[in-house]
Protein backbone atom coordinates (compact mmCIF):
# COMPACT_ATOMS: atom_id res chain seq x y z
CA UNK A 1 0.00 0.00 0.00
CA UNK A 2 1.26 3.41 -0.96
CA UNK A 3 2.03 5.92 1.76
CA UNK A 4 1.96 8.97 -0.53
CA UNK A 5 -0.67 11.68 -0.12
CA UNK A 6 -4.09 10.40 -1.14
CA UNK A 7 -5.61 11.88 -4.28
CA UNK A 8 -9.02 12.03 -2.68
CA UNK A 9 -9.58 11.93 1.03
CA UNK A 10 -12.83 12.11 2.98
CA UNK A 11 -12.98 12.42 6.77
CA UNK A 12 -15.91 11.82 9.09
CA UNK A 13 -18.65 12.44 6.51
CA UNK A 14 -22.18 12.77 7.79
CA UNK A 15 -25.23 13.16 5.61
CA UNK A 16 -28.89 12.68 6.45
CA UNK A 17 -31.94 12.61 4.25
CA UNK A 18 -34.69 13.49 6.70
CA UNK A 19 -34.28 11.67 10.01
CA UNK A 20 -32.26 8.81 8.46
CA UNK A 21 -28.48 9.14 8.39
CA UNK A 22 -27.15 7.90 5.04
CA UNK A 23 -23.57 8.55 6.17
CA UNK A 24 -22.67 8.48 9.83
CA UNK A 25 -18.99 9.32 10.16
CA UNK A 26 -17.59 7.77 6.98
CA UNK A 27 -13.91 8.18 6.06
CA UNK A 28 -12.19 7.14 2.86
CA UNK A 29 -8.99 7.65 0.89
CA UNK A 30 -7.89 6.69 -2.61
CA UNK A 31 -4.46 7.08 -4.19
CA UNK A 32 -3.52 7.69 -7.83
CA UNK A 33 -3.90 4.59 -9.97
CA UNK A 34 -5.73 2.68 -7.26
CA UNK A 35 -9.01 0.84 -7.86
CA UNK A 36 -11.10 0.68 -4.69
CA UNK A 37 -14.34 -1.27 -4.50
CA UNK A 38 -17.03 0.18 -2.24
CA UNK A 39 -19.21 -2.68 -1.07
CA UNK A 40 -22.07 -3.07 1.38
CA UNK A 41 -25.75 -3.94 1.52
CA UNK A 42 -28.46 -1.91 -0.21
CA UNK A 43 -29.17 1.30 1.63
CA UNK A 44 -25.87 1.23 3.53
CA UNK A 45 -24.76 4.59 2.11
CA UNK A 46 -22.49 3.45 -0.75
CA UNK A 47 -23.95 5.77 -3.38
CA UNK A 48 -24.21 8.71 -0.98
CA UNK A 49 -20.52 8.26 -0.19
CA UNK A 50 -19.70 8.27 -3.90
CA UNK A 51 -21.82 11.39 -4.47
CA UNK A 52 -20.11 13.22 -1.60
CA UNK A 53 -16.66 12.19 -2.86
CA UNK A 54 -17.50 13.46 -6.33
CA UNK A 55 -18.84 16.78 -5.03
CA UNK A 56 -22.34 16.04 -6.33
CA UNK A 57 -23.83 16.02 -2.85
CA UNK A 58 -22.64 18.30 -0.05
CA UNK A 59 -22.20 16.44 3.27
CA UNK A 60 -23.85 17.88 6.41
CA UNK A 61 -20.45 17.73 8.08
CA UNK A 62 -17.00 16.30 7.47
CA UNK A 63 -14.55 17.12 4.72
CA UNK A 64 -13.59 15.89 1.26
CA UNK A 65 -10.15 16.90 0.04
CA UNK A 66 -9.15 16.47 -3.58
CA UNK A 67 -5.44 16.99 -4.20
CA UNK A 68 -5.22 18.90 -0.95
CA UNK A 69 -8.20 21.20 -1.59
CA UNK A 70 -11.51 20.96 0.18
CA UNK A 71 -14.39 20.39 -2.22
CA UNK A 72 -17.09 22.11 -0.18
CA UNK A 73 -14.93 25.24 0.13
CA UNK A 74 -14.80 25.62 -3.67
CA UNK A 75 -17.27 27.84 -5.51
CA UNK A 76 -19.91 25.85 -7.43
CA UNK A 77 -18.48 26.83 -10.81
CA UNK A 78 -15.06 25.53 -9.88
CA UNK A 79 -16.48 22.30 -8.52
CA UNK A 80 -18.47 21.80 -11.72
CA UNK A 81 -15.35 22.43 -13.80
CA UNK A 82 -13.51 19.86 -11.70
CA UNK A 83 -16.24 17.30 -12.33
CA UNK A 84 -16.01 17.93 -16.08
CA UNK A 85 -12.25 17.77 -16.43
CA UNK A 86 -10.77 15.75 -13.57
CA UNK A 87 -13.55 13.33 -12.68
CA UNK A 88 -15.18 10.72 -14.90
CA UNK A 89 -18.50 9.00 -14.23
CA UNK A 90 -19.98 5.64 -15.17
CA UNK A 91 -23.45 4.71 -13.98
CA UNK A 92 -25.47 1.49 -14.01
CA UNK A 93 -27.37 2.56 -17.10
CA UNK A 94 -24.91 4.37 -19.37
CA UNK A 95 -27.00 7.55 -19.39
CA UNK A 96 -25.85 8.38 -22.88
CA UNK A 97 -27.59 11.25 -24.66
CA UNK A 98 -30.07 9.44 -26.96
CA UNK A 99 -30.08 12.12 -29.67
CA UNK A 100 -26.31 12.01 -30.17
CA UNK A 101 -24.29 9.31 -31.90
CA UNK A 102 -21.89 7.26 -29.79
CA UNK A 103 -18.91 9.25 -31.09
CA UNK A 104 -20.68 12.50 -30.22
CA UNK A 105 -21.52 11.16 -26.77
CA UNK A 106 -17.90 10.28 -26.05
CA UNK A 107 -16.71 13.62 -27.47
CA UNK A 108 -19.19 15.57 -25.33
CA UNK A 109 -17.08 16.01 -22.16
CA UNK A 110 -14.24 17.36 -24.33
CA UNK A 111 -16.59 19.72 -26.18
CA UNK A 112 -17.83 21.02 -22.80
CA UNK A 113 -14.26 21.90 -21.85
CA UNK A 114 -13.80 23.83 -25.09
CA UNK A 115 -12.04 21.30 -27.32
CA UNK A 116 -12.82 21.81 -31.03
CA UNK A 117 -15.28 19.36 -32.56
CA UNK A 118 -12.86 17.69 -34.95
CA UNK A 119 -10.23 17.05 -32.34
CA UNK A 120 -12.80 15.96 -29.74
CA UNK A 121 -14.30 13.42 -32.13
CA UNK A 122 -10.89 12.11 -33.17
CA UNK A 123 -10.06 11.46 -29.53
CA UNK A 124 -13.50 9.94 -29.00
CA UNK A 125 -12.86 7.48 -31.82
CA UNK A 126 -9.54 6.48 -30.21
CA UNK A 127 -11.34 5.72 -26.96
CA UNK A 128 -14.08 3.79 -28.72
CA UNK A 129 -11.35 1.66 -30.31
CA UNK A 130 -9.74 1.12 -26.96
CA UNK A 131 -13.05 -0.02 -25.51
CA UNK A 132 -13.55 -2.29 -28.55
CA UNK A 133 -16.72 -0.53 -29.76
CA UNK A 134 -15.38 1.51 -32.68
CA UNK A 135 -17.90 -0.14 -35.01
CA UNK A 136 -20.88 1.52 -33.27
CA UNK A 137 -19.46 5.05 -33.38
CA UNK A 138 -22.06 6.33 -35.85
CA UNK A 139 -24.97 4.60 -34.12
CA UNK A 140 -27.25 6.24 -31.61
CA UNK A 141 -27.41 4.68 -28.09
CA UNK A 142 -30.82 3.16 -28.83
CA UNK A 143 -29.29 1.13 -31.66
CA UNK A 144 -26.56 -0.62 -29.64
CA UNK A 145 -26.64 -3.48 -27.13
CA UNK A 146 -26.44 -2.94 -23.37
CA UNK A 147 -22.83 -4.14 -23.22
CA UNK A 148 -21.79 -1.92 -26.12
CA UNK A 149 -23.61 1.08 -24.63
CA UNK A 150 -21.82 0.58 -21.32
CA UNK A 151 -18.43 0.42 -23.03
CA UNK A 152 -19.32 3.67 -24.83
CA UNK A 153 -20.16 5.14 -21.39
CA UNK A 154 -16.74 4.02 -20.08
CA UNK A 155 -15.07 5.64 -23.10
CA UNK A 156 -16.96 8.85 -22.34
CA UNK A 157 -15.83 8.73 -18.69
CA UNK A 158 -12.18 8.27 -19.68
CA UNK A 159 -11.91 10.56 -22.71
CA UNK A 160 -10.81 13.56 -20.63
CA UNK A 161 -8.17 11.31 -18.95
CA UNK A 162 -9.66 12.11 -15.54
CA UNK A 163 -7.68 11.55 -12.35
CA UNK A 164 -10.65 9.86 -10.67
CA UNK A 165 -13.33 7.67 -12.22
CA UNK A 166 -16.49 7.16 -10.20
CA UNK A 167 -18.33 4.02 -11.25
CA UNK A 168 -21.69 3.26 -9.61
CA UNK A 169 -22.71 -0.36 -10.31
CA UNK A 170 -21.22 -0.09 -13.83
CA UNK A 171 -22.07 -3.70 -14.67
CA UNK A 172 -25.38 -3.87 -12.82
CA UNK A 173 -27.46 -4.10 -15.98
CA UNK A 174 -25.17 -6.47 -17.88
CA UNK A 175 -24.83 -10.26 -18.12
CA UNK A 176 -21.68 -11.91 -16.71
CA UNK A 177 -19.67 -11.95 -19.91
CA UNK A 178 -20.38 -8.31 -20.80
CA UNK A 179 -19.87 -7.25 -17.20
CA UNK A 180 -16.44 -8.89 -17.12
CA UNK A 181 -15.49 -7.25 -20.39
CA UNK A 182 -16.48 -3.80 -19.15
CA UNK A 183 -14.51 -4.31 -15.93
CA UNK A 184 -11.42 -5.58 -17.72
CA UNK A 185 -11.41 -2.65 -20.15
CA UNK A 186 -12.24 -0.08 -17.46
CA UNK A 187 -9.55 -1.20 -15.03
CA UNK A 188 -6.91 -1.69 -17.75
CA UNK A 189 -7.55 1.79 -19.14
CA UNK A 190 -7.53 3.32 -15.65
CA UNK A 191 -4.24 1.59 -14.80
CA UNK A 192 -2.68 2.83 -18.04
CA UNK A 193 -3.67 6.44 -17.35
CA UNK A 194 -2.99 6.22 -13.56
CA UNK A 195 -6.60 7.18 -12.88
CA UNK A 196 -8.02 6.18 -9.51
CA UNK A 197 -11.32 4.31 -9.67
CA UNK A 198 -13.99 4.40 -6.97
CA UNK A 199 -16.15 1.43 -7.83
CA UNK A 200 -19.48 0.97 -6.08
CA UNK A 201 -20.64 -2.60 -6.50
CA UNK A 202 -22.49 -5.33 -4.66
CA UNK A 203 -21.02 -8.03 -6.90
CA UNK A 204 -17.94 -9.84 -5.61
CA UNK A 205 -16.74 -10.82 -9.08
CA UNK A 206 -16.77 -7.14 -10.05
CA UNK A 207 -15.04 -6.13 -6.81
CA UNK A 208 -12.34 -8.70 -7.63
CA UNK A 209 -11.09 -6.27 -10.30
CA UNK A 210 -10.22 -3.78 -7.56
CA UNK A 211 -6.95 -3.45 -5.65
CA UNK A 212 -8.75 -3.37 -2.32
CA UNK A 213 -12.26 -3.05 -0.94
CA UNK A 214 -14.02 -1.11 1.76
CA UNK A 215 -17.38 -2.06 3.20
CA UNK A 216 -20.02 0.54 4.04
CA UNK A 217 -22.45 -0.52 6.72
CA UNK A 218 -24.96 1.76 8.45
CA UNK A 219 -23.27 4.81 6.97
CA UNK A 220 -19.82 3.94 8.30
CA UNK A 221 -16.81 2.60 6.47
CA UNK A 222 -15.14 -0.64 7.35
CA UNK A 223 -11.63 -0.79 5.90
CA UNK A 224 -9.80 -4.00 6.78
CA UNK A 225 -6.64 -2.87 5.03
CA UNK A 226 -6.54 0.02 7.52
CA UNK A 227 -5.65 2.57 4.89
CA UNK A 228 -7.67 5.47 6.25
Amino acid sequence: MTTAEPLLHAADLRKSYGPTPALDGASFAVHPGEVVAVMGPSGSGKSTLLHCLAGIVRPDSGTVHYRGRELSAMPDTERSALRRSEFGFVFQFGQLVPELTCVENVALPLRLTGVARKEAEARAVEWLERLEVEDVGRHRPGQVSGGQGQRVAVARALVTTPRVVFADEPTGALDSLNGERVMRLLTDAAHDTRAAVVLVTHEARVAAYSDREIVVRDGRVRDLAGTI
Binding site: A204, A208, R217, L224
Partner: protein
Protein backbone atom coordinates in the same frame (compact mmCIF):
# COMPACT_ATOMS: atom_id res chain seq x y z
CA UNK B 1 -14.73 -28.11 10.81
CA UNK B 2 -12.59 -28.06 13.95
CA UNK B 3 -14.45 -30.12 16.56
CA UNK B 4 -11.96 -29.10 19.24
CA UNK B 5 -12.57 -25.39 18.73
CA UNK B 6 -16.30 -25.89 18.50
CA UNK B 7 -16.46 -27.81 21.79
CA UNK B 8 -14.19 -25.22 23.36
CA UNK B 9 -16.48 -22.42 22.14
CA UNK B 10 -19.50 -24.19 23.61
CA UNK B 11 -17.66 -24.57 26.92
CA UNK B 12 -17.04 -20.84 26.97
CA UNK B 13 -20.76 -20.34 27.51
CA UNK B 14 -20.51 -22.36 30.74
CA UNK B 15 -18.99 -25.57 32.22
CA UNK B 16 -20.55 -28.83 31.06
CA UNK B 17 -20.27 -32.59 31.29
CA UNK B 18 -19.03 -34.48 28.25
CA UNK B 19 -22.53 -35.75 27.59
CA UNK B 20 -24.02 -32.24 27.68
CA UNK B 21 -21.32 -31.05 25.32
CA UNK B 22 -22.15 -33.74 22.79
CA UNK B 23 -25.83 -32.90 23.03
CA UNK B 24 -25.22 -29.15 22.59
CA UNK B 25 -22.96 -29.82 19.60
CA UNK B 26 -25.47 -32.16 17.94
CA UNK B 27 -28.34 -29.74 18.50
CA UNK B 28 -26.59 -26.75 17.02
CA UNK B 29 -24.12 -28.09 14.50
CA UNK B 30 -24.43 -31.85 14.18
CA UNK B 31 -27.59 -31.92 12.06
CA UNK B 32 -26.67 -34.83 9.77
CA UNK B 33 -23.54 -35.97 11.54
CA UNK B 34 -23.88 -36.24 15.31
CA UNK B 35 -20.65 -36.67 17.28
CA UNK B 36 -19.64 -40.05 18.68
CA UNK B 37 -19.01 -40.17 22.41
CA UNK B 38 -15.51 -41.36 21.63
CA UNK B 39 -14.82 -38.20 19.64
CA UNK B 40 -15.95 -36.02 22.52
CA UNK B 41 -13.81 -37.80 25.10
CA UNK B 42 -10.70 -38.00 22.94
CA UNK B 43 -11.07 -34.31 22.05
CA UNK B 44 -11.58 -33.35 25.69
CA UNK B 45 -8.51 -35.26 26.82
CA UNK B 46 -6.46 -33.49 24.16
CA UNK B 47 -7.81 -30.07 25.25
CA UNK B 48 -7.11 -31.02 28.85
CA UNK B 49 -3.53 -32.00 28.03
CA UNK B 50 -3.02 -28.69 26.22
CA UNK B 51 -4.34 -26.69 29.16
CA UNK B 52 -7.30 -25.29 27.23
CA UNK B 53 -9.87 -26.87 29.57
CA UNK B 54 -9.78 -28.08 33.14
CA UNK B 55 -11.84 -30.53 35.14
CA UNK B 56 -14.02 -28.51 37.44
CA UNK B 57 -15.38 -31.47 39.28
CA UNK B 58 -16.00 -35.20 39.08
CA UNK B 59 -19.41 -36.44 40.08
CA UNK B 60 -20.10 -40.01 41.05
CA UNK B 61 -22.68 -41.74 38.92
CA UNK B 62 -23.37 -44.31 36.26
CA UNK B 63 -21.20 -44.58 33.18
CA UNK B 64 -17.54 -43.91 32.70
CA UNK B 65 -17.53 -40.12 32.31
CA UNK B 66 -18.91 -37.71 34.85
CA UNK B 67 -16.25 -35.05 34.58
CA UNK B 68 -17.45 -31.50 34.45
CA UNK B 69 -15.23 -29.44 32.12
CA UNK B 70 -14.56 -25.69 32.23
CA UNK B 71 -12.66 -23.58 29.74
CA UNK B 72 -9.38 -21.98 30.89
CA UNK B 73 -8.10 -18.47 30.02
CA UNK B 74 -5.80 -20.09 27.46
CA UNK B 75 -8.88 -21.82 26.01
CA UNK B 76 -10.75 -18.52 25.70
CA UNK B 77 -7.76 -17.00 23.92
CA UNK B 78 -7.67 -20.00 21.60
CA UNK B 79 -11.38 -19.66 20.71
CA UNK B 80 -10.93 -15.93 20.05
CA UNK B 81 -7.97 -16.60 17.76
CA UNK B 82 -9.90 -19.26 15.83
CA UNK B 83 -12.98 -17.08 15.41
CA UNK B 84 -10.87 -14.13 14.31
CA UNK B 85 -8.87 -16.09 11.76
CA UNK B 86 -10.24 -16.25 8.21
CA UNK B 87 -10.84 -19.74 6.83
CA UNK B 88 -8.96 -20.73 3.71
CA UNK B 89 -11.49 -19.97 0.98
CA UNK B 90 -12.77 -23.13 -0.65
CA UNK B 91 -16.20 -24.32 -1.74
CA UNK B 92 -18.66 -25.56 0.85
CA UNK B 93 -17.25 -23.68 3.79
CA UNK B 94 -20.69 -22.83 5.04
CA UNK B 95 -20.79 -25.33 7.90
CA UNK B 96 -17.54 -24.01 9.38
CA UNK B 97 -18.54 -20.39 8.88
CA UNK B 98 -21.98 -21.04 10.29
CA UNK B 99 -20.41 -22.65 13.35
CA UNK B 100 -18.09 -19.70 13.84
CA UNK B 101 -20.90 -17.16 13.52
CA UNK B 102 -23.08 -19.01 16.04
CA UNK B 103 -20.21 -19.40 18.51
CA UNK B 104 -19.28 -15.73 18.15
CA UNK B 105 -22.88 -14.79 18.96
CA UNK B 106 -23.08 -17.27 21.85
CA UNK B 107 -19.87 -15.97 23.41
CA UNK B 108 -20.69 -12.29 22.91
CA UNK B 109 -18.06 -11.63 20.24
CA UNK B 110 -18.45 -9.49 17.12
CA UNK B 111 -19.88 -11.82 14.46
CA UNK B 112 -20.00 -9.02 11.86
CA UNK B 113 -16.25 -8.59 12.24
CA UNK B 114 -15.73 -12.30 11.63
CA UNK B 115 -17.76 -12.07 8.41
CA UNK B 116 -15.78 -8.99 7.31
CA UNK B 117 -12.48 -10.80 7.84
CA UNK B 118 -13.75 -13.74 5.82
CA UNK B 119 -15.06 -11.51 3.03
CA UNK B 120 -11.66 -9.88 2.76
CA UNK B 121 -9.93 -13.26 2.54
CA UNK B 122 -12.34 -14.45 -0.15
CA UNK B 123 -11.84 -11.29 -2.16
CA UNK B 124 -8.07 -11.65 -1.89
CA UNK B 125 -8.28 -15.04 -3.57
CA UNK B 126 -10.84 -13.77 -6.09
CA UNK B 127 -8.44 -10.97 -7.09
CA UNK B 128 -5.69 -13.51 -7.60
CA UNK B 129 -7.94 -15.63 -9.82
CA UNK B 130 -9.11 -12.54 -11.73
CA UNK B 131 -5.50 -11.56 -12.44
CA UNK B 132 -4.78 -15.10 -13.65
CA UNK B 133 -7.86 -15.00 -15.80
CA UNK B 134 -6.90 -11.70 -17.41
CA UNK B 135 -3.51 -12.96 -18.47
CA UNK B 136 -4.52 -16.54 -19.28
CA UNK B 137 -5.93 -18.37 -22.29
CA UNK B 138 -9.53 -19.50 -22.61
CA UNK B 139 -8.90 -22.69 -20.61
CA UNK B 140 -7.45 -20.62 -17.75
CA UNK B 141 -10.39 -18.26 -17.95
CA UNK B 142 -12.92 -21.06 -17.69
CA UNK B 143 -11.12 -22.77 -14.82
CA UNK B 144 -10.78 -19.51 -12.91
CA UNK B 145 -14.40 -18.59 -13.59
CA UNK B 146 -15.56 -21.86 -12.08
CA UNK B 147 -13.66 -21.13 -8.87
CA UNK B 148 -14.80 -17.50 -8.90
CA UNK B 149 -18.47 -18.44 -9.13
CA UNK B 150 -18.10 -20.81 -6.17
CA UNK B 151 -16.35 -18.17 -4.10
CA UNK B 152 -19.00 -15.67 -5.07
CA UNK B 153 -21.66 -18.05 -3.78
CA UNK B 154 -19.87 -18.12 -0.41
CA UNK B 155 -19.78 -14.34 -0.38
CA UNK B 156 -23.46 -14.07 -1.16
CA UNK B 157 -24.10 -16.34 1.78
CA UNK B 158 -21.85 -14.12 3.94
CA UNK B 159 -23.81 -11.01 2.94
CA UNK B 160 -27.12 -12.68 3.60
CA UNK B 161 -25.90 -13.88 7.00
CA UNK B 162 -24.54 -10.41 7.84
CA UNK B 163 -27.98 -8.98 7.06
CA UNK B 164 -29.62 -11.50 9.39
CA UNK B 165 -27.20 -11.35 12.33
CA UNK B 166 -29.61 -9.63 14.71
CA UNK B 167 -32.28 -12.24 14.03
CA UNK B 168 -29.78 -15.11 14.38
CA UNK B 169 -28.45 -13.63 17.64
CA UNK B 170 -31.96 -13.63 19.10
CA UNK B 171 -32.49 -17.25 18.08
CA UNK B 172 -29.19 -18.72 19.27
CA UNK B 173 -29.31 -16.87 22.58
CA UNK B 174 -32.85 -18.13 23.02
Amino acid sequence: MSIGHTLLGLLETGPRHGYDLKRAFDERFGHDRPLHYGQVYSTMSRLLKNGLVEVEGIEPGEGPERKRYAITDAGITDVAAWLGRAEKPEPYLQSTLYTKVVLALLTGRDAAELLDVQRSEHLRLMRELTRRKKSGDLADQLICDHALFHLEADLRWLELTAARLDQLAREVRG
